[in-house]
Every structure is written in structure tokens, then in C-alpha cells.
């Protein structure tokens, strides 16, 4: 019986009846793991957006990021959640409800003073905040909420 169910699931998966769950999974990461991610080689501009489910301006700007990313194959978008790592279900529920398709990681390190400057010295710690990493490794950082137009303009400047 078990075998039948599992093969059925595999079949459904292969036909795409069950959507791929891989991007619905939430991974908790440490700061060194985050840093490693930002240092990975890529031929795209990678956008790391710092947000949290409880942060109204963050939630407001998330669709802009998703839209701009969906319209431009030269962009990669990664959401970095500042939510409470002891309650990851808050983030997974949010992701399901809002259909967040880009990968989401929860940076699970509350000793903030140890790492905020390493993301960017100009960051005061307020969210939303966004780190752009260009293919050549150079970085651009923005603290605060953006509109869709402002985001597009920033990306244009980076190209």
C-alpha cells in the first residue's frame, strides 16, 4: 500500500500535479552561511531583500521585487527573513498565503551588532533593507522601503 501511494505521489509530482515544494521550504541559516551565499558566483544581479512578516513596509514592497525579478531574467531574488527563528511557521504560512515564489531564508542570528556592519556599514539595522550583488561581486545597499519605479531605477543604475 505504502509503495502504491509513494509511486502515485511520484507520478503526480512528475506531471506537476503537486507543485514543487522546494521553494516552499524555509531554511534557517547562520550569518556565515548568508555571507557565503552573497559571495557565490553568478552571472545575474542578485537581490537580497531583508524583511519580516510583521513589517508592514516590507510586506508592501515584496510584490514589487517579485514583479521586477519575473520581468528580468538577469535578476535573482532571495528573501532574507528577520522573523523569530523559534516560530518559522509564521514565515511558511505567509509564503503559502502570498504565493512567494522566490527562495526565502530565515537568518537566525539575533546578535545583530556582530553582523549588521558586515552586510553594509551604512545599514542602521532598520528593515526593509536590500543588498544588491553584481556579477563582478560589487555591492550596493539600500535601507528603507522602495516603490517599483525606485527599484527599477536602482537596477538600471547597476547595469
Amino acid at each position: 500500500m505504502k509503495l502504491i501511494i509513494s509511486s502515485l505521489v511520484t507520478l503526480l509530482l512528475s506531471f506537476g500535479f503537486i507543485s514543487d515544494q522546494s521553494n516552499k521550504e524555509l531554511q534557517l541559516i547562520s550569518f556565515p552561511e548568508f555571507e557565503e551565499m552573497t559571495n557565490e558566483k553568478s552571472d545575474k544581479i542578485r537581490i537580497f531583500n531583508f524583511w519580516a512578516t510583521w513589517c508592514a513596509p516590507c510586506v508592501k514592497e515584496m510584490p514589487y521585487f517579485q514583479k521586477v525579478k519575473d520581468e528580468d531574467p538577469k535578476l535573482d531574488l532571495i528573501f532574507i527573513s528577520m522573523d523569530d527563528g523559534r516560530k518559522p511557521e509564521r514565515v511558511t504560512t505567509f509564503m503559502e498565503r502570498r504565493n512567494v515564489s522566490s527562495p526565502v531564508y530565515l537568518l537566525n542570528d539575533v546578535d545583530y551588532n556582530k553582523w549588521i556592519d558586515k552586510v553594509d556599514p551604512s545599514w542602521s539595522g532598520a528593515i526593509p533593507a536590500t543588498l544588491f550583488v553584481k556579477p563582478d561581486g560589487s555591492r550596493f545597499f539600500h535601507e528603507g522601503e522602495v516603490t517599483e519605479e525606485e527599484l527599477k531605477e536602482m537596477i538600471k543604475q547597476l547595469k
Binding site: Y112, I116, G144
Partner: protein, 207 residues
Amino acid sequence: MKKIGLFLFSVLFLAAQEFVQAQDSQGYKIGDNAKDFSLKTTDGSTVSLTGLDGAKGAIVIFSCNTCPYVVAYEDRMIELHNKYASQGYPVIAINSNDAKASPGDSFEKMQERAKDKGFTFPYAYDESQEVIKTYGGTRTPHVYLLHKEGNDFKVKYIGAIDNNYQDASAVTERYVEEALAAVMNGQPVANQTTKAIGCTIKWTKAE
């Protein structure tokens, strides 16, 4: 053409950096004299630095009702006040959020919050946002520890309360208390500034 583009980008990038630096320099740095203020508080009175009776300084905390980080720190803010007000360093919590942008941070909601939590410290409303602009606060909670020297209130520490918002019992660095201990003993403060993730200030939008 590419070169011109690159040049333009560099110029813009430098300009953006200048802008960020200019923004940073707007607020107080360690050693600056903090300007006095007079703000209405939730109990119907007003609070000012010079009006603090027998104070040797103050623990000014830019706060609000709606930020989960603030909520996580409210009990610790009460503890700080109860422990240090009698030693001359009362907590003054200031909400600068615009009530239109953040209805949960209206003066009425502040009064509710102060009553529900039993705040022992003054909780003041910076409706015009002038105080936070002068100080340079960018998030909540954001602490400015002031120490009275003559008639001046010198900024001795700027930053977070401690290094674990989630769990008070797991804190390993009590930034504000360590700074206070140094100030009270006439010693230099080891960690003069710290950073923490916090909520943005809900600025008043120009009409």
C-alpha cells in the same frame, strides 16, 4: 559610450554615498550635547531633560507601540527605569511614529499601552518628529544614553539595549547597563555604539 555610462554610474554612486553620509551626520555622535525637548506624556504631563529632578542623565529610548522588537523589550525598559532612575538615570521613552502612517502609534494608543503594561517611566509623544530628527534615531527601539556634565547632557552611548531581543535570560552583552556602569564610575564606555535590527520610523509624509 560604455565608458561614459560607467563614469555616470560612478558619479551617481559617489553621490549616493555622500547622501548616506550626510544623512548619518544629521544625528548625534558620541560626545555631542543633546538638545533639550519638551514633550507631552501619556499621563498628561510633559517631560524635558532640564525638568528631571536630581537627574545625572537619562536613558532616552525611541520607541513605539507597534514594533515587535519594542514589545520584546518593554519589560526590560521597565526594569532599566526601576533600577537606574533612583541612581539618577531615568528612562524616557519617545514615540515619533506618524499616527496616519501607523494608526497603532497614535497618542491614544500610547496611553492604552502605557496603562496596560504599567509603564513606570514617562512615555512621550514626538508628534512633530523634531526630536528624533535632531537625535538621528532611525529605528525602534533606539537608545541614547545621556550623562549630565554641568548643564549639558552629553551623548555617551547610542544603540541597542542588549544583544538578544528574543530571550532576556540568554543575553551575553548588556550594552546599556555596561555603558551606565562605566559612566557612573567615570570610566570610558567600551561599546559606544551598537546596531540592531529594528522597525523603521514611520515618517510623516508631506501633504
